[in-house]
Symmetry: D2
Subunit: 352 residues, 4 copies
């Protein structure tokens, strides 16, 4: 168990941790601000922003109704928090993370900088030589459904990517059932997944009424999927992943196809297998009907359904999440709750 000043606080009365958000004016930062501002066990400390330092939260995000002002990042100001959420882009995040850990602050990093367990993989998938291989090895992959036991003792948690979250949750119960042909993972994401920086690709007129695949081979999130699925299967699993851009704000629907190693068993048996696997999970719902984005939008839930295609000899698994909540900020808070011993759904019961 992580030794933390919190233990001392705990002795003195009701536990409230201080939390800061670094890079708080992107979409994930805004959702974190929303959740944390009404989390019963948290007091918001610093919200940092390069572009909006000095501006009020309510002016940048009028829908939030959160008081407070954005500040410039400094290791001192943020490092005094019990926990920091870092929302910087990959390759920019690791330096800040290292600073904050040095300050004694626990860190949940929403970038990709600590998700891959093999430090050499960053050169291949992200194009940079990772300078902090020690921290890469230390980080816990923050998917509570798989790594819950490691979270209370974790100093650094690597929050999973949005696509990997929906895909890995769809695979875990059947990781050892996939035959050698591997997985086809066809995902469709809302536009908020592309971030808040305006670009030609996220212009309303480029998205509305339209639909397309992008990064259609070798999207970086494939590396997380391979790592976690292969880990769960106990051997390398081949994954062909294709992301598509939906004309919606929020949500990822993943349609996954695999050929079952031991043959077909019927929809009910597969569904029961998923239900057993996820029994007791607060945020995974295994359903009879195939799920729609609207069933999880603005929530931390992942919904799953399984179907056999008898004529083709395949199994199809459908998963939906909100990319900004279970796929990012909600899951980050879920990780925090596990790290600090709060109820796992604290702050996560309302829509954000």
């Amino acid at each position: 168990m992580y030794s933390h000043a919190l233990v001392e606080k705990r002795a003195k009365g009701p536990i409230v941790v201080t939390a800061s958000v670094v890079g708080a004016t992107g979409y994930t930062g805004a959702v974190l601000t929303d959740i944390l501002s009404s989390h019963p066990d948290v007091r918001l400390q610093a919200l940092t922003s390069k572009s909006y330092a000095g501006d009020r939260v309510c002016d940048v995000f009028p829908h939030l109704r959160v008081s407070g002002v954005y500040t410039q990042y400094s290791a001192e100001a943020v490092g005094g928090s019990d926990v920091a959420f870092v929302c910087y882009p990959h390759a920019e995040s690791h330096a800040v993370v290292a600073q904050l850990l040095d300050e004694g602050c626990r860190v949940i990093d929403l970038s990709a900088d600590f998700r891959l367990k093999d430090p050499e993989a960053y050169a291949l998938w992200y194009g940079f030589d990772h300078p902090r291989k020690d921290l890469v090895r230390e980080a816990v992959f923050g998917l509570p459904e798989k790594y819950r036991a490691q979270l209370p003792g974790a100093r650094l948690v690597a929050n999973p990517g949005c696509y990997p979250t929906g895909a890995i949750l769809a695979v875990l119960p059947v990781a050892s059932d996939i035959d050698a042909s591997g997985l086809v993972i066809d995902s469709k994401s809302g536009v908020s997944g592309a971030g808040r920086n305006p670009s030609a690709k996220t212009h309303f007129c480029a998205v509305e009424g339209d639909f397309r695949a992008y990064n259609e081979v070798g999207h970086r999130h494939t590396s997380e999927m391979i790592q976690e699925v292969s880990g769960a299967a106990g051997h390398a699993v081949t994954i062909s992943f294709t992301p598509h851009l939906l004309p919606v704000d929020r949500g990822i629907l993943t349609t996954m196809y695999f050929r079952p190693l031991r043959g077909l068993v019927g929809d009910q048996a597969w569904t029961q297998k998923y239900r057993d696997f996820y029994a007791g999970e607060p945020f995974v719902e295994v359903c009879d009907a195939v799920p729609a984005l609207s069933e999880v939008a603005y929530t931390n839930y992942c919904r799953l359904a399984v179907r056999e295609d008898p004529a083709a000899g395949l199994v199809k698994v459908f998963s939906v999440i909100d990319n900004l909540v279970k796929g990012a900020s909600g899951q980050a808070v879920q990780n925090m709750n596990c790290m600090f011993g709060f109820p796992e759904d604290a702050g996560l019961q309302r829509k954000v």
Copy 2:
């Protein structure tokens, strides 16, 4: 060659055929009305409608700017046309088609009633015993890219389904390259594919911001795909097809996955194979970049792109069409053009 009164007309001057649309107030009927009303070689005769008989076209579809009034269907009134487009639902269409053929009218049927070549397959896929197995056998499957040669002599053309059009065009060049694991076909369609009848599933509030799979195993269009792909391959090809509902009006994007029988050859080789196969086709465009719905919306084009996924050993093919144009009414007119010897793109050069 089909013997037709047109031959006599041809002798007398510029050829103009008379065309009628049966069931003209659905979405496919409206697009047909739009195309045919400005087709240089066509004069619109009857537009029939059960619900709107007596109403003016411009009142039912204010955007069309087509004069004329809807009438009740009668075999006599419609049968006097050179060609009739029948836009009735499956299992309702065949009786009208048979009547019109008896009247000496050539027919392009947009329902599923004559698409399957095996008359016994209707019981399995569509739940009815087909009463006109003779016409089932006579009908030409109206995909000009495959059956162009049979169209001039055809009395009855079965216009392909929207999903099959996009999927089959994506497969044809590689039908003999698919290994025994078969095809995964993951399609995403706009809402107009569900037809104009209002329902809980097509209510704006049920679709906007949402996305879901539906008929997720065994969708009826799978039968057409199996028939045509297996026919092209020369042996039975397994197909796992999954349709999804996009929050857009028009368009189908199909993402297709297969394991190549003879291994990987590189993106360029696959692309060239597609370019060679479709050389000279007026409505198939093989592209380097993966295509978006917006590139074909409101047009009769199909755009295709191919990608190898080397790590997974798979090939991905992307196709986009407008479900109401190349996937229905535009292709029906393309078939008519082939049947009557008009330029294949006559009437199909503008957006509808």
Copy 3:
């Protein structure tokens, strides 16, 4: 003060009222179900539905995560509740309301059947002779910002219409400032305002990418606006109201124009006048910036901003609400909170 069994309950321990929803499977019923199911002072009793009796809530509205089954309406079953929310169409609602009042149940009616204070006005605006003019006279118009004092003693509350809610809140602070030329009220509403019954007008393909006015003169909600604005002004105020249909799910933005009786005074003075008027109101926010739908969507807030147009000598007032929350079900719960002495924002602090 309304004499109610609640008083006896109150003596025995923590107050929890039982609430039923009549017509619970429309959009307003679904939002009420969502709010009430997590309201700290409420226990849901009956949810009635003509079409879905016997179905589980979670099957009809998978996003709700509410247990329970819809039942057929009966006066006995529903009438035993402390309060009933009636979500029937106008002209159908009054009979049920009368029954439930007879059963001793307090009623919040979401239809128009008791909003107009003049019983003769129903013939003019709604085309029926109201059979319960006594109840029309008894009903309290459920706009807490205006009639809060009457709610604790009310047996029957007429929940305002969606357009009137946004418009009246925009007018109240300046009702006596409007010159003889009256008000121009130009409103734009999301599609959920048209209800859940599918129709040609709410088909996704008829709405997406489109925009239009409808009921462009004499929309029935005008009657509520005239009644309340004239009442606040102390004399008849002329109102020209035009509703439009936005391609969005939720929300109404109203742009209101008037010529100030006593001339221009500057943006700040108007804004301050609104702030003073609504000081302490839990759900009215007067802003400096003009508000967007997204700032109130899924909440019970109304946001307002005022602008002078000096060159034209007019004042513009902008108001936004969520038509299903502050414009219907949220306001209904706000009314209930006032009726029963609960905190006015109980159950209304999260998005629905």
Copy 4:
């Protein structure tokens, strides 16, 4: 009549003018490219772009199917065209326009730089002192319905703004019927009106599901409306204009309110007045039903309808246009057709 080399061409055979587009990679440039590339009387010469010089049209706008490559602007290259369309922002355009006129090229300017007839008005409305007041005075305001007679002799045409086009067409028939209280013009525009440059305001996630007013007092387009409406009325008309941003790609719907100077006359009389005024106009359609955006989207039509509001003593006029076609590029081509004596609808009969 403008003396032009075209006259000499005309003598030699079928007339084809050469046309260039300066700033061809914004939305208006793309629509111009689309229209001109299939215009029967035009040959595209140069398409210039600062950002995309050297790129192929089909790579920047894959939906266009236009061959050709963007070039850097030079007065020589462009000036050799018979006509140039200038699509630069206001305050940047006038210098290029002056250069091209010097080269002997006729110019249709889509910026605001020559729309106001009073050269001093640019300081007030656009914040710069106009350096070419001579050209301001020479320019013809390119609304063919009002200034058709001046177009054949025009060297420089100032294409109207998108909001003014829809609004002025709605007012012209009744300009002398407006009482002293003036006009309320409440307009709602699609996002393409904000241009193709990505910004926080045009990000898909900032627009989808949302709606808001912007530039809510004193929008620059008000100046054009005042100029043209007052001109038509013969005296100054007060206008209060409010633009709003719709979550759609294309189209402007304007709802206009005025108090008729000589009282109410009935819907039919107003409609007939509009019909008489616009008799013979190829692109103005006066309708009985209030029009929707979808009826004019992607076309050069303006649709109008009029309604009296007897209770309020007001008249409401509804107009819809496509902001990029009749509101910009389509009208620019209509102007060109008038300038060069082509059929007024040449190139404008298909959707773009």
